[in-house]
Assembly symmetry: C2
Homo-oligomer: 229 residues x 2
């Protein structure tokens, strides 16, 4: 029995150390490409990774640090500081063009426990942009205690995965039609919701019971959440 | 010359100390009502405030602490731990019913630098709920380095206020029609945006130049943001 080796792309933004240390858990034994976003490039390099792309204006790094990035990245995409796109949007453009089929982990995009909340929201808000529609379904934002994943209409089994999280929160990013949550601690019969709605603090029954999620219209964010650890 | 004294209501969730210490800056010399949300009740009481309402399931406080809350709150609204509404939603119901005309500051609703991101999003997501429509325009979420404010269609002057923030970020929560941003460092001519879009890192020209914001349809979140201080 042979299966095609799975490949991943890892994008690293302002990840704090715990998030970079999560990488092996997700990509173990798989071919993996790395994109560093501005200062995130340094964090990946210092953790021993070689970058396929480094993107940003790099005004947050010293000249010396920028040299280090140049030595450890195959491609450097340097942008002016004043631009319409955020650095993370530029990175997602690369994911979309260069790695159109790979599952994508974004580290430090949410900035758990630190940083500017508008940056955090802007990174979530990327998924509303029509230009990223092909990529939204294969992104996961990974933080130490949170995994963000996005779903278009369909039927899914959400597994507890590497973390058996304390909470499973299902947040609709638009109106949704015929949302159903089954096999969870708190279930929801088929329901239309006319506006973005946060259904938080649901739970997995246990590690072997994936939660069944389905809906017919809309965009849904699923968070696996641990209490602060 | 006499003007009617302005009145405020302050809602305190899981506010960390810096947020509680921001209160006097906003409500100085004004009549103010206080609502404590679960453990936030304790933080207000310990900072010397008397509560008009304390609401929550209070499963995060000890029996002794709950006694302290009872002694220092005019009304206690105790709910079961398993309920459909979050404690913050229950508090906003009180704001809506008991203080229908007052400007409302919510502290610790966003949880800058701490806590669960699904709680944070759920608190922002409250503003989408039709039941809170009358209150959304008078809420501000206050954190140490962030102020969140919500706007329905109209023409506004956004002032730098108490903080002259490093950044002014304008995040549409829905599609918007005829959005215009003027008198800022980066202006936007009248533009329709068909989906939620984060226009971040704009800036005030200076303290005496309010930014002019207008739009005809939709819901807009304005963030005043300081870099971490």
């Amino acid at each position: 029995m042979q299966s095609k080796e799975k490949e991943y792309v890892v994008v690293c933004g302002g990840a704090v150390k715990p998030a970079v240390s999560e990488i092996p858990k997700y990509v173990q034994n798989h071919k993996t490409y790395y994109i560093g976003v501005d200062g995130g490039s340094l964090k990946l390099i210092k953790a021993g990774y070689h970058l396929d792309y480094a993107v940003g204006d790099f005004d947050s790094v010293t000249e010396e640090e920028f040299q280090l990035i140049k030595e450890n990245a195959t491609h450097i995409i340097k942008h002016p500081a004043q631009k319409d796109d955020t650095d993370m949007e530029l990175a997602l453009e690369i994911v979309q063009e260069e790695f159109p089929d790979l599952e994508c982990f974004i580290l430090g995009g949410i900035g758990e426990k630190k940083g500017r909340l508008d940056h955090m929201l802007a990174n979530i808000w990327m998924v509303y942009q029509p230009r990223f529609k092909q990529s939204v379904g294969r992104i996961k934002f990974i933080e130490k205690n949170h995994v963000f994943q996005f779903f278009f209409p369909g039927e899914y089994e959400i597994s507890a995965e590497k973390m058996l999280p304390d909470y499973l929160s299902i947040i609709t990013l638009t109106a949704v039609e015929q949302l159903s949550i089954q096999n969870a601690v708190y279930n929801l019969g088929t329901t239309d919701i006319g506006y973005p709605r946060a259904l938080i603090s649901n739970e997995f029954i246990d590690k072997n019971h994936p939660v069944k999620l389905s809906f017919k219209q809309g965009l849904v964010l699923v968070l696996r959440v641990n209490e602060r650890k």
